[in-house]
């Protein structure tokens, strides 16, 4: 996917002016966080489970080479294949070759953020292979030629009316000429259209929530069951997953599943949890005859053993974006690439470069709500700050910010000078603001006063001036 992260400020302007988006975001902000809160409250051990989930992922990351090789051994023993993809281009090439090896014309895709990361659909289309998204949200945005705006709810930026218009436009040719207004009718129509496509697909491609080293299984959760059709109907099943998805055991998967759905949607578990363990065996009634797992690195391994490793614990529940007031204001597309919200602000600079995505870790108030709900306790604000430090070290911080900081820092390290400067500023602001108590406009503070008044200090001097004047005694103004 082509990044527009460098154009973040422009994207923000468009997002804030988009009335449909703002309508959708208003619903998302209340819905997801309230359901997550209730789910967490219903489970007394939820906080302990978050600790356990964090520890499982930390252990897996500390021994990643071992568990990945173990996973590969198990998959091969089952008659499947593992393909290692150091880069996005490698993953695209491997998948395209696999598709061509069976003469595939269509690929039924269950939701996969990694496939967005490697821009798989565009690549397949260019080769004459039609990817068909089978997750309802992914299907909707595929019809609209849009990227997902949320990692678990890809079409969350759209209103029901927009979906109704999209379906009418694209399904008319299939004989659906009535504009639907009821949610259930829309789902039924999509189900009908998609069912035909499942039957025709030559290859099924899914992501994976977890790769279980102990059994060689890939594990997937959905609420629509589309993954199960994607991986059982076609002849070939390709799993596309990134390296950090591997975990040691099924027991570990059970712990992670318990925090995943609760954090994501507030469900106790997702409607469908599917384990794929190798290709169809001799006595199986159905299943793919070929089973391939493509494991992508794409820059992840370079953070192993560094302070940034914590970002690889992510289990893609979306709770951080559901609770982020910045995401809630601008939605996912403004972030400009595949992963939005707090985790996107941390991952994106790693995956496509901090020069391209430098705005993302800066566009946070560090309110900490993301960290407070993260099921694997990723210190998201700390990681964002780490990117800011990297930018500052490499002189990527905007010049005005650097200059302002340099002047302020110079004064802040010289308390006596600082007192004189603040004493002067205080008197000036108090004097000219006396009549109204605030400023509607203020030199050098345009970014503030464009939207807000600026409170003037009361007369009498700074705190330290008053304190010194009274000989360091308590005063009662």
């Amino acid at each position: 996917m082509q990044s527009t992260a460098h154009d973040f400020k422009h994207n923000v302007g468009e997002a804030l002016a988009d009335a449909n988006l703002q309508d959708s975001l208003a619903k998302l902000k209340v819905g997801f966080s309230e359901r997550r809160r209730q789910a967490a409250e219903r489970l007394p051990e939820f906080e302990a489970l978050r600790d356990a989930a964090r520890d499982i992922k930390n252990h897996a990351l500390a021994n990643l080479d071992f568990y990945l090789e173990e996973f590969e051994r198990k998959v091969v023993a089952l008659g499947g294949h593992v393909h290692w993809a150091p880069t996005a281009a490698d993953a695209r090439r491997i998948i395209a070759d696999l598709c061509r090896s069976v003469g595939a014309k269509t690929v039924a895709k269950s939701k996969s953020m990694v496939s967005e990361e490697i821009a798989l659909n565009e690549h397949l289309e260019a080769l004459g292979i039609a990817p068909i998204e089978t997750d309802l949200g992914e299907y909707i945005i595929q019809l609209r030629h849009e990227p997902p705006s949320h990692i678990i709810a890809p079409a969350v930026h759209l209103t029901k009316d927009q979906v109704a218009d999209t379906f009418l436009e694209h399904h008319k040719a299939l004989g659906f000429s009535k504009r639907l207004t009821e949610r259930n009718d829309l789902v039924a129509e999509a189900r009908h259209v998609l069912r035909e496509k499942f039957l025709k697909a030559d290859v099924g491609l899914t992501g994976a929530n977890f790769l279980v080293a102990e059994t060689g299984s890939s594990m997937l959760v959905t609420n629509e069951g589309n993954a199960d059709l994607s991986n059982t109907m076609p002849r070939m099943h390709i799993v596309l997953a990134s390296i950090e998805k591997v975990i040691p055991t099924l027991e570990d998967a059970a712990v992670l599943l318990r925090v995943l759905a609760r954090s994501a949607t507030g469900q106790e578990s997702s409607s469908y949890t599917t384990l794929n363990t190798g290709p169809k065996r001799r006595d199986d009634l159905d299943g793919p005859s070929q089973y391939h797992v493509v494991i992508l690195d794409n820059g992840r391994s370079s953070v192993l053993g560094t302070k940034m490793q914590d970002m690889l614990r992510c289990i893609r529940c979306g709770a951080c974006m559901n609770h982020c007031p910045v995401y809630g204001a601008i939605g996912g597309h403004a972030y400009g690439w595949v992963y939005p919200g707090p985790i996107g602000a941390v991952l994106t600079p790693q995956l496509i470069g901090v020069e391209e995505a430098g705005n993302l870790p800066n566009a946070s108030t560090f309110c900490g709500r993301c960290e407070s709900v993260c099921p694997v306790r990723i210190p998201l604000p700390g990681l964002m700050r780490h990117w800011r430090e990297r930018e500052f070290e490499h002189h990527l911080t905007p010049r005005t910010v650097r200059q302002g900081l340099a002047i302020w820092g110079y004064a802040a390290r010289r308390p006596r000078l600082y007192r004189r400067l603040t004493g002067f500023a205080n008197r000036l602001l108090a004097l000219f603001g006396r009549a109204t108590g605030r400023y509607r406009a203020l030199p050098l503070a345009g970014a503030w006063t464009r939207f807000r008044d600026f409170p003037a200090p009361p007369s009498g001097g700074t705190f330290h001036a008053q304190w010194a004047r009274h000989g360091g005694a308590r005063t009662r103004p």
């Binding site: 204001a329 900490g368 430090e389 008044d453």
Partner: protein
């Protein structure tokens, strides 16, 4: 202020006030309110003269070297006090949680930073959790709503403490917002680096404040208060904005944030 004398004998007496740069420059009354509350609770309060700022503007902009220099200055200035108290969860959190990590490569400074971190507190939680204060002798006739500033809430666990003390203020009625824990969009330099996003966030906050039906907004951090006051006043809202310490210290006779001073 009532507090049990048995507690007071074992608790910190020599307390330093970390004024915060915003209180110093824009609202000195918050500093005096903090001193009154601490003195009423039996503390001897000092204001170390060489304090300036906690360093967050540099820290959150990625400038670690400047942050370290400022932190070292704060560590020096507040050496020897039993407790360091800030009328701000943001600055309190900086001292209590972030300073030690700045000196990972300097064990001697790290030890001093950790020592300061252990002694550092946000004002209202210090009163309640450390000093055991349960009530204040104050009167405020009005309906207030309380915004939970992010760092105080999530780094220092400031939530019930201000509400408990506010419930003892005569004449005061607390009307909660639907989402008092959602960020107001201030975020230090964030509000001027990304003014449009900040504006959207504070716009939502002001709508939530209006829906609460309160006539006064309180919080424990002046940055958030200036942001919310500025937005409310730009919108022509009648809601007045004050630091919680002013109400608890019975010093709410002063003009509210962003309001003109009346002749006294």
């Amino acid at each position: 202020m009532s507090s049990s004398p048995s507690v007071s004998q074992t608790r910190p007496r020599r307390v330093a006030l970390f004024v915060t740069c915003l209180v110093d420059l824009f609202r000195p009354s918050v500093g005096f309110a903090a001193i009154k509350l601490l003195e009423d609770a039996g503390c001897a309060v000092e204001v170390p003269p060489l304090q300036v700022c906690c360093g967050q503007p540099a820290y959150n902009s990625g400038d670690r070297a400047t942050t370290r220099a400022i932190a070292a200055q704060v560590i020096d200035a507040f050496e020897g006090f039993e407790a360091v108290v800030a009328p701000s969860g943001s600055c309190g959190g900086m001292l209590a949680h972030h300073y030690p990590g700045l000196f990972d490569d300097d064990p001697a400074m790290k030890a001093r930073a950790e020592d300061l971190a252990r002694r550092s507190h946000e004002l209202v939680s210090f009163l309640v959790d450390v000093l055991g204060v349960n009530s204040v002798a104050a009167r405020f006739d009005g309906a207030v709503t309380y915004h939970d500033s992010c760092s105080g809430l999530r780094e220092l666990g400031v939530k019930q403490q201000p509400r408990r003390l506010l419930s003892s203020v005569k004449g005061l009625e607390l009307k909660e917002m639907a989402t008092p824990e959602v960020c107001c969009g201030f975020g230090g330099t964030f509000c001027v680096k990304y003014p449009e996003i900040s504006n959207a966030m504070v716009g939502e906050k002001s709508a939530d404040i209006a829906r609460s039906g309160a006539d006064t907004l309180l919080a424990g951090d002046l940055g958030c208060l200036m942001n919310m006051a500025g937005k409310l006043q730009r919108q022509g809202s009648p809601v007045r904005v004050r630091h919680v310490a002013e109400v608890l210290a019975d010093m709410a006779g002063l003009a509210a944030v962003g309001e003109p001073e009346t002749k006294r």
